[in-house]
Structure formats: structure tokens, C-alpha cells
């Protein structure tokens, strides 16, 4: 791969004739061409201008519409939002956007890209943001052409679901979210998943059981350990021979990095486009980010990581030291209180040095498992613990030590620390006027036996007035003693 890089660089440098009019320096003046117009590309272009990029920017998008929030397609599927509501904010003025233009080849030697219609477009710096493509199963029968079958990977495949019942094929993250959202929207949903429980690569058995229960509550039944093998109009055939009614069949069977274009440029590809810590591919003038890329030694694959990469790359292309992209992201599906932290293997097989915290309360739908090293989270899964889901994620991404009371953290309670015993005499009862219990008792002894008299003597209750009940209680205690 090293050799490839060197060859490409030499070739490019010696063949400057075609590209001499396009600036290539990463100093904010380069002519940047972006292939792909999803959320990562959109953010990159926004951040380029934000960080002061002055050169021309061109974006090619294969789909006909402007960039949209792909991660929210389920909101269109379930009828929450119209398709148009997913359109992202307009790009800064001066950016050339060519939607509906599929780029079919990259020629790194001449530094240009070729579109489907044969036109060629030179670039200074090329950024591949081609995202991912769905991985589809073999289906017998009418197969992928069956009416009602859709791949909700693009806006075209994510029209609102109208024909019930719904079969969602594939219970990974996206499939589970989709089944849950449609169930909640009142559809009769079956989620067919080959693993032992939904999201089996991310979740352990106990967490999976709770997610299955949450699906059920939302109106979605999980058929686990099963596959759909054939499709006919209105029906799906499972591998155990059962037929499911399927007015709508949604294929959520996973995605793979879209590297086709990178291959035309002979870039190094290993599952995704190989990039270094500054998101540069094996060609020095070509970068890649988001779902199509495979960064070395770094967890990525969430929309947040793609956005962070976009910002880091924008800095790099503006000549700044690209701030390193965070190494840690939380998987936080659109399901009730569920978070997955860190690599699943660390969760399943904690090391000897690791502290292991487990809280299981299946009757209340709560489960938490954290693997800690030196007081910091290495991996974890949290279900139903809504406070912990909201707070531990940040402790993990920022690699902060956890507070010493692990259970208090998991349960989201601070009761462990509070005394809860009777008020001491020095306790302030009326904060607005700094009146203590002792002051009140003394006033009572001196003849102030009702609220107005207490107020006149101590000013208690005259501020916000909310201590009136407490003052009455203390008077009552004083009267009784």
C-alpha cells in the first residue's frame, strides 16, 4: 500500500498539465470536490466555509434531492414527518451542488472525476463521502421485485408505510428501530432476525430480552433465530416454513461501505476506504469520511462520528491541524433508554484488571452492565436505566472517572449521599431570610404562635413564601413539646 501511495503521488506530480488550474494545497484555497451528498458531506461543506475555506467547492449527489437526514428515515416511514422535512439546511452561498449526478469513475492521475453522462470534472482535492449501500439477502419467489418490498435506505425507499401488516427483515440497529417506530405508530409488525435476539452483535442476552419486551410493548413481535427465505405478494416465507402476512416488507439487512468509486481510483480498500488519522486515502489528494471510510484503529460508524470527521477534515483542508476525531462514540438507538458503550467484545469478555458492575432488575425492565478499568468505562450496556443512559454515555466518551458509588450512578439517584435524618437546629428553614429552626423555636417560646406572628418576629415566610408549611410544622412540634 505504501508503494501505491508513492506511485500515485509521483504520477500526479509529473502530470500536472490537466490539473494545474485547480489548487491542491490544504491551505483553505484548494478546489474541493465532494462525491456524495449525505449528512457527512453536508457537514463538511458547512464546516469548510466556517473554518475559512476560500476555494471553490463542488458537491456531486447521485440522488435527485438535496442532502437529507438519512438517519431519520424511520420518521418518514412511520408517518411522523413528511419527506421534505428531512432536508438539511441550505449550504453556504457559492457552493456548487449537482444533485442527480452520479459519478462513475475517478482518475487520480489526471485528477478528475467522470460522471454517468460522460462529462469530466477536474478536482484539486477530492473527498469521497459515498456512504454505504444496503446488503440484500437472496430471496426466492418474487424476490426483490415483490410488491410492497422496500429497502428503506434512501428517501425513495422510505415512503410512509400504509399497507399492513409489516414485516421488517433484519434486527440489527436500524431494523430494530424501524420495527419499534412502526409498532408505536400502530402497525402490526413482525421483526425477523437470524440472531438469538435483536441487535445480538451489540447486546448481551439480558439486554436483548429487555429490548424484545420493549418491542412487544410497542406492538412489534420479534421472530428471532429466523430468516425470510422467499417473498410472494403479501407474504413472506420463513425458514421454518411459516408464512407471514406482509403488506409491506422492509429490508434492513445491513449495509456495507460504498467503495465502488474508490476502487476505480485504485485506492487502498479493506472493507472500507483505508484512511489515515487525517482521513487521507492512499492518494494524497483524495480523502474519505463517513460510512465509506475505514479509519485505522478507531471506532466509527455513527452519524456523530461522521460529523466529527467532517469538522476535522474541514480544519485540515483549511490548513489547521485537524483536531483528532474522538475515539469514543455511544450507540444510542431510538429505542426507550438503551445505550451501548465501547466495543462489544470488551463487554462480553472483561479482562482480569477490569471491574465488572452488573445491575439486573428484569421485572422493571432495568439492566446495566459496565466494564471499568481504573475507574473508567471500557464497555457497557444500559437498558431502562434512563438516568444512567443519559449520564454514563458522556462519562464514557470523555473518558472520565466514574463517581465512587456505582449503584447510585446506575440508578440515577443521589440518595446515598443525603442524610435524611431530622432537621438539626441549625438547619435553615426560611432561606430567603436565613431563618433557622432554632430561630423559629425561640420565636415560638417568646410568644409568636401563629404564622403572622412568626413572620413579624423572624421574617420567615416573607420571601418566596414556600417555607410556610415547614414553619407551621415546626410550630406544631413546638406546641406539642
Amino acid at each position: 500500500m505504501r508503494a501505491t501511495t508513492a506511485t500515485t503521488a509521483t504520477a500526479t506530480a509529473s502530470d500536472s498539465a490537466t490539473a494545474s488550474d485547480t489548487a491542491t494545497a490544504a491551505d483553505g484555497t484548494s478546489a474541493v470536490t465532494v462525491i456524495g451528498y449525505g449528512p457527512a458531506a453536508h457537514r463538511l461543506v458547512q464546516r469548510l466555509r466556517h473554518h475559512g475555506h476560500r476555494g471553490p467547492v463542488t458537491v456531486f449527489g447521485a440522488e435527485p434531492q438535496p442532502a437529507y437526514q438519512r438517519a431519520q428515515l424511520t420518521s418518514v416511514l412511520d408517518g411522523t414527518l413528511p419527506a421534505g422535512a428531512l432536508t438539511l439546511a441550505p449550504l453556504p452561498a457559492g457552493v456548487e451542488v449537482r444533485t442527480g449526478t452520479r459519478i462513475t469513475a475517478v482518475d487520480p492521475r489526471r485528477r478528475l472525476v467522470r460522471a454517468e453522462d460522460g462529462t469530466e470534472h477536474p478536482y484539486g482535492i477530492l473527498v469521497l463521502a459515498t456512504g454505504s449501500r444496503p446488503v440484500l439477502p437472496q430471496l426466492a419467489g418474487a424476490g426483490r421485485h415483490a410488491p410492497g418490498l422496500r429497502v428503506p435506505h434512501t428517501l425513495r425507499g422510505a415512503r410512509p408505510v400504509t399497507k399492513g401488516p409489516v414485516v421488517v427483515v433484519g434486527g440489527g440497529l436500524r431494523g430494530t428501530e424501524t420495527a419499534y417506530a412502526l409498532g408505536r405508530a400502530g402497525h402490526d409488525v413482525t421483526l425477523v432476525h437470524p440472531g438469538a435476539h435483536p441487535m445480538h452483535r451489540l447486546l448481551d442476552g439480558r439486554a436483548g430480552a429487555l429490548v424484545t419486551a420493549a418491542l412487544r410493548e410497542a406492538g412489534a413481535v420479534a421472530e428471532t433465530g429466523r430468516r425470510v427465505v422467499a417473498v410472494e405478494p403479501g407474504k413472506a416465507l420463513l425458514d421454518d416454513g411459516r408464512l407471514l402476512a406482509a403488506g409491506t416488507l422492509l429490508l434492513c439487512t445491513g449495509t456495507a461501505p460504498d467503495t465502488a468509486l474508490a476502487r476505480t481510483a485504485r485506492l487502498a480498500v479493506r472493507h472500507g476506504i483505508v484512511v489515515d488519522d487525517r482521513l487521507r486515502t492512499s492518494d494524497p489528494y483524495i480523502y474519505a469520511l463517513g460510512d465509506c471510510a475505514r479509519p485505522v484503529g478507531r471506532h466509527h460508524g455513527t452519524l456523530e462520528s461522521a460529523w466529527d470527521e467532517a469538522d476535522a477534515l474541514a480544519r485540515t483542508l483549511c490548513g489547521a491541524d485537524g483536531s483528532p476525531v474522538a475515539a469514543r462514540y455511544v450507540v444510542r438507538p431510538r429505542l426507550p433508554a438503551l445505550a451501548v458503550l465501547g466495543p462489544p467484545d470488551a463487554l462480553h469478555a472483561p479482562g482480569d484488571r477490569d471491574e465488572h458492575v452488573v445491575l439486573s432488575d428484569p421485572a422493571r425492565g432495568r439492566y446495566g452492565r459496565l466494564v471499568l478499568r481504573e475507574g473508567r468505562v471500557r464497555a457497557g450496556v444500559l437498558v431502562g436505566l434512563d438516568r444512567a443512559v443519559a449520564t454514563v454515555g458522556r462519562l464514557y466518551t470523555e473518558d472520565r472517572p466514574l463517581p465512587p458509588d456505582r449503584l447510585a450512578l446506575l440508578l440515577g439517584t443521589d440518595k446515598e449521599y443525603t442524610g435524611g435524618s431530622a432537621l438539626p437546629d441549625t438547619a435553615v428553614v426560611c432561606h430567603c431570610n436565613n431563618v433557622t429552626r432554632k430561630d423559629l423555636r425561640q420565636a415560638w417560646r417568646q410568644g409568636a404562635h401563629d404564622l403572622p406572628a412568626i413572620a413579624a418576629a423572624t421574617r420567615a415566610t416573607t420571601g418566596c413564601g414556600t417555607c410556610a408549611d415547614a414553619v407551621r410544622r415546626i410550630c406544631g412540634t413546638a406546641a406539642a413539646s
Binding site: 420518521s75 441550505p90 444510542r332 443512559v389 465512587p404 436565613n434 418566596c464 414556600t466
Partner: protein, 701 residues
């Protein structure tokens, strides 16, 4: 007795509290050298209530170290008493020298949100006419500027509460974003007994304790939370579509910026559980009468204007503003924080909330002042930039400070103290010594709340009469007298700077006439007769315009009558924790003190209640850094260190510490805060910086 709390002839004087923007009604009876005070039972804002600050305000009138004579720094470097003529002559000679060398902008003026309308107006006029300087701004920039900028952009007008405070009492739900009235303005809570409260605050404050729902976002993330709440309002189908169609513009663009803030993402960024976000939006959307109020917690950020705008977007999306029984408002802080931002002590404004760049506004005000419009300077630097420029090439070399103590209250305080020390001439007018008077070349002793007449405009936009119950002590002058004395010495005609507050107010009425904050129809006579007058109150043919208690009921103040939703984007605070400074610090207030504490630290009862700076920290975090309850901690940011007493607070976020900013010297929380400013409002980032904490080690001798 009238509604204003005015009583008939007699010894009792009806006036308003010395401190915050509630301007609680009080009744004063002179007694010895001071006054006896009781809360006014009739003034609707406090209805007989008062906090400890208000009750003890009379102690300020008799505080032993009250300034009673001008002080002039002598050759030995000590401040020594001097006569008024000597002091004023000295100041004018110094100003002349600076002006000759550096031009009019060589002199700066720094005002305060505690000054009455009359003083704020006269100060702005003095700067623009007598000094001819553009370099005037005030400490209200540190309070209200973000809310003002967002309010003007959204509604075309900025009046903190566009409805009377008492309207809140009938609400079903009130959302308080970054506001802690239970500690900062306790009597307001009397109006919040009935409504269910939603409180957004990183700390479980006393206000949050009374809430039906407390959202506890990480410091610096409330803009993400506001965007997320708008996102949910859309996806949960809670928008008031008819209202948006008929009364607003901009929902589509605002939505595009809220779109990437789905609830699970907001949860991971802010730490607020999804269900709590959903509950908050539902409570607010489904209540009959509902209000959304913001405070400094969301406004004092380098993105404070946008954060406030994001909350206004939410209020507009749900159809709150400009409706009877619902609304949006900001809780103004300082006593005259509302009036103080309307009458010309702001760098970019002329009286009546007019913009200094508007030719028609310049012509109108110049006409009232009897000067050539072309002679008025243009806009100057905003407060922090002004302070930061002091004594630098191109910056002011002399500064006049009225009613402010920036050595304690400005961010990056050690730096600002150095800038003040670099001046050729620093003049400070105050009633008591402060950390800023200690740096001054000349200190001028001025009158205080119960010693002079004037007006303030409270947080609800109601113009109130402050009335003198005492004459100022011998040797003390009013600010108006000080400005008059300086102006005359600088060659201004004597009549141009009157010393009677009533005369100044009558001129202010004319200057504000036709402006956004129009006071033309308000007079001392009407106020003294007990009328409750809220601006705008323009001149009416019969002289009896009723004022405007409730704004926007028919239309907003933009030309097309519509409110605007703003497309705003979340971003990180200017400084986020890292390995060296692993915690967020947020600053704020305690009940017993007001602003820099120059006044309240002199009141024995208040000092006893809160004697010094403390740092609130979660017990788990404290244990990690070796801190225990009551011990001294050194809190350090990239700019400096503060020494504070540890207070363990189990309800605090584990990643955050809190310090009140009222204390002097090494206890200044603003030694920690940074220089980042909001690009629109000039608001500093008081509410978040990155710090580390450690047990305090006594320095080795």
C-alpha cells in the same frame, strides 16, 4: 393608599427596593440617621413579601465606611480626602489632557444597570455630548445583552416581560430556563405557587427543588437542549400551526437546524433523559396557560443570543408569545436592568431604545439635546471589549465608572484589573469603597437609593418611582450633580445637564418619544398619582395614554407584525474540559448577595448568611480530588485561581462545580472565567469554563 403603594402625606415614603429588577415595593420611615423599612402590602409584585437583602437594605444607608468625601490619589499613591471642587477640577484637567492627545475616544464611560433611568440617560448624554466619545457601555452588557439581542430579533422589541408579573400566577405551566428566582428574586416565587414548574439548570437549585420537572443539562449544552425540544415539538405534532402561519415567519429554517437534534442525540450531549425532554415539551404544549422564561443561565454564554433565540423559537412554535395567559419573557436581573438598557448608556443605542446608527434616531435625539446630529459619535465597543482595550494603543486612556464594580463582576477579572490599572485616569463614582474604587485616581461619593428621587423600570416594563426618604449625608452628591459639575467645567451650558431628576425625566420623555421604548406619556405626576404605567406609553392628545401592560397581543413590533424564528445552531462552549482542566465551572449567585457584593457584603446579616466564596462540588468528585466539606479548595482555570470553601452537593452533576461571583480578592469567581464573547451581544461566557480543583496549600513564606 394607591396601587403604587403611595401613601398620603405623612412620614412614610413609598419607594422600591435597592436591589433586583423585581423592584419590590417598600415603605420607609426615617428613623435616626437611617430608615425603618417594611414591605409594601399593596405593590402587586411582592404583595408584602421581601427577601433578606430587601429587609436589610436600610443597613446600607448607615454603613460605617460609607464614602463621604471625594478621594484623590496623592503623590504617595494613597487615596486621600479632597474637596469637590478640587476633585472635579482634577478630573476635568485629566480628561482634557487625554482628549487633547488621544481625541474624544480617549475617554471611556462605564455605567451600570443599577442606575435610575434619569442617571442612565444623563450618563449617555454626557458621554455623547460633553465628552463626544463613542466609548460608553455598561455592566448590563454582562446581564441582559443576549436576551435583548434575541428579543429584538424575534419580536422587534425587547421588554424583559411583555406582560405583568402577576399574570404568571394564573399559569398552569411555567418553564424556567437558566433562572433561579427562588434565590435571586425570591418574592417572584409567590407568583409561581400555582403553576407546575419545569426548571432547566445544571444545578438542583432551590427553584429546581420546587419544580415538577427538573432538566439538568451539562453546562454549555442548553442550546442543544432547546433545539431538541423544538425537534420534539415537531415530531410529536405539537406545533401551533395556525399561530405559526398567521403570526410568525421562519419556522422552516429553524426546523432545519433543529432537525439534527433528535432526542437521543440531545440526551447524550446534554445528559437530559429522552423521556424528560418529551415530558417537558408535552407539559408546555398541552397546558392551557403557559409561559417560558429565560435567565442568565442560558444567556451568559458565547452563544447566549442564539440559545435565547432557540428558547424563543420553542415558545413561538408552541404559540406562546403575544397571547393572553401565555408568553415568553426574560427575567431581568439588575434593579434598573430594563430601563438601564433603554436610554443610551449602551454602546450602540440612544434614548428610547433607538439605534445610534439610525440617521432619524440621531436627528431626533440631537434635536432634543440641541446639538448637531453629525456631532454625535457612532457606536463604540461593547463592555468587555471596552475594558479589554483600556490603556492599549487605540483604546481609552481615561475611564469614568458609575455604579459598577468590574474588578469583581467582569470576566477574566485579573486581566481587567490590570487594564484598569494601566489607565492614565480612572474615576469611580460609588456609595461605598469597592475593589474598583481601590484602583481609582479619583473616587466620588454619590447618593443611594433612599436618598434621591428618580425612576426605574422593573422587569415587567413598569416605570416606578424611587423616592427619597433621607437627604444624602454631608459631602455626598447625586450622580446628576456630578455629571452637571463635570459638564459645566468642560464648557457645556449649565441647563444642558440639569440636576433635578424630574427635569431630566421630562427631557428623557421627549428624547424617547417615538422610539421603541417610548416614555413620552409617563410623568412623575401620573406615577405619583398611583398609575401603573408600562412602556410604550406615547404622548396622547389627552395626555392619558394608558401604557401597555401586555405587548404583542395583536401584532409583534416588526414592520410586518410577525415574530421571527431564528435559524440557530448548537456549538460547544469556548472552553471545554480536558485532561488539565477536567471539570466545568459555572458561576452564579447566592440569595444573600447582590452582584459584586460591594453593597451586600457591608450588611452584617447578609455577610453572616454568606461570609465568603464557596465551591459546590459533588461528593464523589470531591473525594476524587481529595476535597472535604468545609476545607479550602483551589479552583484553577487557564486564567487564574480562586480559593473557595468546599460545599458538598450530592445533587450536582459530577462533572461540574459552582461558585458564586460576589466575593473579592482571591475569592473572585471571575478570576476563572474567560474572555470569550457572544459575537452578536458581546455577552461574556460567565456560565462555563474549564477548571481543576485541588486542596488549597498555604503558600510557603
Amino acid at each position: 393608599m394607591s396601587a403604587d403603594g403611595t401613601r398620603g402625606p405623612g412620614a412614610e415614603v413609598a419607594t422600591h427596593c435597592a436591589y433586583c429588577a423585581l423592584q419590590c415595593g417598600t415603605l420607609l420611615r426615617p428613623s435616626g440617621p437611617g430608615v425603618e423599612l417594611e414591605p409594601s402590602p399593596d405593590f402587586p409584585v411582592n404583595r408584602g413579601g421581601l427577601c433578606q437583602k430587601g429587609w436589610t437594605a436600610p443597613a446600607l444607608l448607615t454603613t460605617p465606611d460609607r464614602l463621604r468625601s471625594p478621594l484623590v490619589r496623592g503623590p504617595g499613591g494613597e487615596l486621600a480626602p479632597a474637596g469637590w471642587d478640587e476633585a472635579l477640577d482634577l478630573i476635568v484637567a485629566g480628561l482634557d489632557r487625554v482628549r487633547e492627545t488621544y481625541g474624544p475616544d480617549g475617554v471611556g464611560v462605564f455605567g451600570g444597570g443599577g442606575l435610575t433611568n434619569e442617571k442612565a440617560y444623563a450618563l449617555g448624554k454626557f458621554a455623547r455630548v460633553a465628552l463626544g466619545t463613542s466609548q460608553i457601555d455598561y455592566n448590563g452588557r454582562f446581564c441582559m445583552s443576549s436576551a435583548a439581542a434575541a428579543g429584538n430579533a424575534a419580536f422587534g422589541l425587547d421588554r424583559g416581560l411583555p406582560f405583568p408579573v402577576t399574570d404568571l400566577g394564573d399559569a398552569d405551566v411555567v418553564l424556567l430556563a437558566g433562572a433561579n428566582p427562588a434565590e435571586t428574586m425570591p418574592p417572584l416565587m409567590r407568583h409561581l405557587v400555582h403553576p407546575r414548574l419545569i426548571v432547566i439548570d445544571p444545578r438542583r437549585t432551590r427553584t429546581a427543588e420546587q419544580a415538577a420537572l427538573h432538566l439538568q443539562p451539562a453546562p454549555g449544552t442548553d442550546l442543544a437542549l432547546a433545539l431538541g425540544l423544538l425537534h420534539l415539538a415537531v415530531t410529536e405534532n405539537l406545533l401551533d400551526k395556525e399561530y405559526l402561519d398567521t403570526r410568525t415567519t421562519g419556522i422552516d429554517a429553524a426546523w432545519q437546524y433543529a432537525l439534527p437534534w433528535w432526542p437521543e442525540r440531545v440526551e447524550q450531549v446534554t445528559g437530559v433523559p429522552v423521556e424528560d425532554q418529551r415530558t417537558a415539551v408535552r407539559m408546555l404544549a398541552e397546558a392551557g396557560r403557559r409561559y417560558l422564561l429565560t435567565g442568565r443561565g442560558v444567556e451568559q454564554h458565547s452563544k447566549g443570543t442564539d440559545t435565547t433565540a432557540a428558547f424563543i423559537n420553542l415558545a413561538l412554535a408552541l404559540g406562546l408569545p403575544g397571547r393572553t395567559g401565555s408568553g415568553y419573557g426574560c427575567l431581568t436581573g439588575q434593579g434598573n436592568g430594563q430601563g438601564g438598557r433603554e436610554h443610551g448608556q449602551k454602546a450602540d443605542q440612544l434614548p428610547g431604545y433607538r439605534m445610534i446608527t439610525d440617521p432619524a434616531a440621531r436627528a431626533h435625539v440631537a434635536g432634543v439635546w440641541g446639538v448637531d446630529p453629525a456631532s454625535l459619535p457612532g457606536p463604540g465597543r461593547s463592555a468587555y471589549k471596552l475594558l479589554d482595550a483600556l490603556g492599549t494603543p487605540g483604546g481609552p486612556r481615561a475611564l469614568l465608572v458609575f455604579g459598577s464594580n468590574p474588578v469583581v463582576s467582569a470576566p477574566n477579572a485579573a486581566h481587567i484589573a490590570r487594564r484598569l490599572a494601566a489607565l492614565d485616569l480612572l474615576v469611580v463614582a460609588d456609595l461605598v469603597p469597592s475593589e474598583t474604587t481601590e484602583l481609582a485616581d479619583v473616587v466620588l461619593p454619590v447618593a443611594q437609593w433612599a436618598e434621591e428621587d428618580g425612576t426605574t423600570t422593573s422587569l415587567e416594563g413598569r416605570v416606578l418611582r424611587r423616592r427619597a426618604a433621607l437627604t444624602p449625608p454631608a459631602g455626598v452628591r447625586t450622580d446628576l450633580e456630578v455629571l452637571h459639575g463635570l459638564a459645566v467645567r468642560m464648557g457645556q451650558p449649565a441647563h444642558r445637564f440639569p440636576v433635578s431628576p424630574r427635569t431630566v425625566f421630562d427631557e428623557l420623555r421627549r428624547a424617547s418619544s417615538g422610539g421603541r421604548a417610548d416614555y413620552a406619556g409617563i410623568s412623575y405626576e401620573r406615577l405619583d398619582a398611583g398609575e401603573a404605567l408600562y412602556w410604550p406609553c406615547p404622548d396622547a392628545p389627552d395626555g392619558n395614554h394608558p401604557g401597555t401592560p401586555r405587548l404583542f397581543l395583536d401584532r409583534f413590533a416588526h414592520a410586518d407584525g410577525r415574530a421571527r424564528l431564528a435559524p440557530v445552531e448548537h456549538r460547544d462552549a469556548a472552553e471545554t474540559p480536558d485532561t488539565h482542566y477536567p471539570l466545568h465551572a459555572t458561576t452564579g449567585r447566592v440569595l444573600a448577595h447582590y452582584q459584586s457584593g460591594a453593597q451586600t457584603r457591608r450588611v452584617p446579616e447578609l455577610l453572616a448568611a454568606a461570609p465568603g466564596v464557596h465551591v459546590e462540588i459533588h461528593p464523589g468528585t470531591a473525594a476524587r480530588f481529595g476535597l472535604t466539606e468545609g476545607a479550602l479548595a483551589e479552583v484553577t482555570s487557564a486564567r487564574g485561581s480562586t480559593v473557595a470553601r468546599v460545599r458538598l452537593v450530592p445533587t450536582l452533576r459530577t462533572d461540574t462545580v459552582f461558585l458564586p461571583f460576589h466575593f473579592p480578592g482571591a475569592g473572585r469567581a471571575n478570576l476563572l472565567t474567560g474572555p470569550a464573547l457572544d459575537p452578536v451581544s458581546g455577552m461574556p461566557e460567565f456560565k462555563v469554563c474549564a477548571v481543576r480543583v485541588a486542596p488549597w496549600q498555604e503558600p510557603q513564606a
